[in-house]
């Protein structure tokens, strides 16, 4: 049944080569933990992706309740966390997932570094990876403000003040992040937009580039 539906679609759109190109490839022995346990270090990239997917899904559910304005932001998070059925789990997944994704990304970066996998011909993929790294830090910074509690407020204030101390362009960065002169209503809506639209958009584009390059070049060979 499933097979005939697939064939019906495949006949009309020729989808087999599309996904075969991306997904059908070999998993060599030296990266397969079933053969060499130490190869588990090669799983961190996949785990990062897995947690990233969790972040995106839980984030989508959070926006069903979250209200990005300074009067309601805190109350909406409070309501979601304590009153909505399973709301605490969704927020918990997004909150702790944010830490977990950083840890996994960090371990993945170390794996790539210490196995020398960033070397020719994979330089571009490393640079793309670093850009992903910065995007992730940006997501962490902007997401931290959204619950609009004291911790969020004052951490953001200090963060932007640090950015403002950069010579020449600092004040402009401050203006851009604050949307004014203080952490206020504008800052919250801005951070929300950056956190929910701009950075995830950039992240997805970078991930696509990352995976295309891995697919094209294959995983680096055994040491």
């Amino acid at each position: 049944m499933f097979k005939s539906v697939y064939n019906w679609i495949d006949e009309r759109l020729d989808i087999t080569p599309l996904w075969r190109d991306v997904a059908d490839h070999e998993v060599p022995e030296h990266v397969n933990p079933a053969h060499h346990f130490s190869a588990f270090v090669y799983c961190f990239g996949g785990l990062t992706f897995f947690i990233t997917v969790i972040q995106i899904l839980s984030g989508m559910f959070l926006t069903m309740y979250y209200v990005p304005d300074i009067l309601n932001a805190y109350a909406s998070v409070d309501y979601l966390n304590h009153k909505v059925a399973f709301g605490g789990i969704v927020r918990g997944m997004h909150h702790f997932g944010a830490s977990l994704v950083i840890v996994m990304m960090f371990l993945h970066t170390l794996r790539v570094f210490f196995t020398g996998s960033y070397k020719a011909p994979r330089e571009m993929n490393w640079v793309v990876g670093m850009l992903i790294f910065f995007i992730m830090l940006g997501l962490g910074f902007t997401g931290y403000l959204l619950p609009w509690d004291n911790k969020a407020y004052f951490a953001t204030k200090v963060g932007v003040q640090i950015a403002e101390s950069v010579p020449y362009i600092g004040p402009y960065i401050g203006q851009f992040l604050y949307g004014g002169d203080i952490v206020g209503a504008q800052t919250l809506t801005r951070f929300f937009a950056i956190h929910v639209f701009f950075l995830p958009g950039a992240l997805l584009a970078m991930l696509a580039a990352h995976f295309l390059m891995i697919r094209k070049q294959g995983i680096s060979g055994p040491l």
Binding site: P28, E29, G46, I102, V166
Partner: protein, 292 residues
């Protein structure tokens, strides 16, 4: 490409579309002839990955159920006593910027110089470390630089966290999300609704009685007002207002609180004399809403 077709074949399209009609059976390629024990990603390896993924997911779910995500009290820009704290993965930078030569006059070094070199170096690593050798123990410079940076990062993070814990201790602060959780638990034990965190008790209506009393000045000098706020409205619910305190506490109770402290309220028996405390308590006990 997983599908190939012989070039001398006449191309047949599906209907009037530009999709080529193909009769290739959809059989996954076989990787067994590759060197080593290669395995097909789909479906063999992917299935195992999903199983691991499920275990990770269940572990993660259990974690989020056991440990609720923290939430403090609503942001209050006038709260001067709050100790700012970024998320843990920024702590190393936060701590780094506290050192001399990378802060104040030298802040450019701290915000741009050192992080610029470090992250720039990381970003451009493939172009700086261009040798063919991949094993880390044969790349002493790259590896030792990375290990040193790792140690430094961990060290800075730990120091920053310790510093924060110490600050909490000397200011007698309990992080807000802990207070809040504790209050909710107490309320639940009594079978009540958790106290509302979005509405602050209304204190604005109560005026300060005899604001020109010298005790007012003395309280400012004794740092009472850094916590209880210059306008004595406090920062409820953690720090009570002192306006209208005379309605709540007697003079003796106030003397006892100030002398010996209470919870997050520090004891002042060492820093203020008994007369000073008496003077403050006398004035505070006059703070009644009804007076005027």
């Amino acid at each position: 490409m997983a599908h190939g077709h012989k070039s001398d074949e006449k191309v047949v399209f599906v209907g009037d579309s530009r999709v080529k009609k193909n009769n290739h059976p959809n059989i996954p390629p076989d990787y067994t002839s590759f060197p080593g024990k290669s395995e097909a990603f789909i479906p063999n390896f992917l299935l195992k990955e999903w199983m691991v993924g499920c275990v990770v997911l269940v572990g993660f779910l259990v974690w989020t159920i056991a440990e609720p995500a923290p939430l403090g009290y609503p942001a209050d820009p006038t709260n001067a006593a709050f100790i700012p704290m970024p998320d843990w993965y920024f702590l190393f930078l936060y701590q780094f910027l506290k050192y001399p030569y990378v802060s104040q006059d030298y802040i450019v070094l701290g915000t741009m110089g050192v992080p610029g070199v470090m992250f720039g170096g990381l970003l451009l690593a493939p172009f700086l470390d261009t040798g063919k050798e991949r094993r880390f123990y044969r790349r002493p410079i790259a590896s030792s630089l990375m290990i040193l940076s790792l140690i430094a990062t961990v060290y800075l993070t730990v120091i920053s966290w310790d510093h924060y814990q110490h600050q909490l201790e000397i200011t007698n602060t309990i992080p807000e999300h802990h207070i809040r959780e504790e209050k909710a638990r107490e309320a639940a034990a009594k079978g009540e609704e958790a106290p509302s965190t979005t509405k602050k008790p209304e204190t604005a209506a109560v005026a300060i009685v005899e604001a020109d009393d010298p005790a007012h000045k003395l309280m400012e000098q004794s740092k009472c007002l850094t916590c209880h706020a210059a306008d004595m409205k406090g920062n409820p619910p953690q720090i009570p207002a002192l306006r209208g305190i005379g309605d709540v506490l007697s003079k003796e109770e106030i003397v006892a609180t100030v002398t010996n402290g209470n919870g997050n309220m520090p004891a002042f028996k060492d820093s203020l004399s008994a007369e000073q405390i008496d003077q403050i308590a006398t004035w505070l006990s006059k703070q009644k809403a009804a007076a005027e």
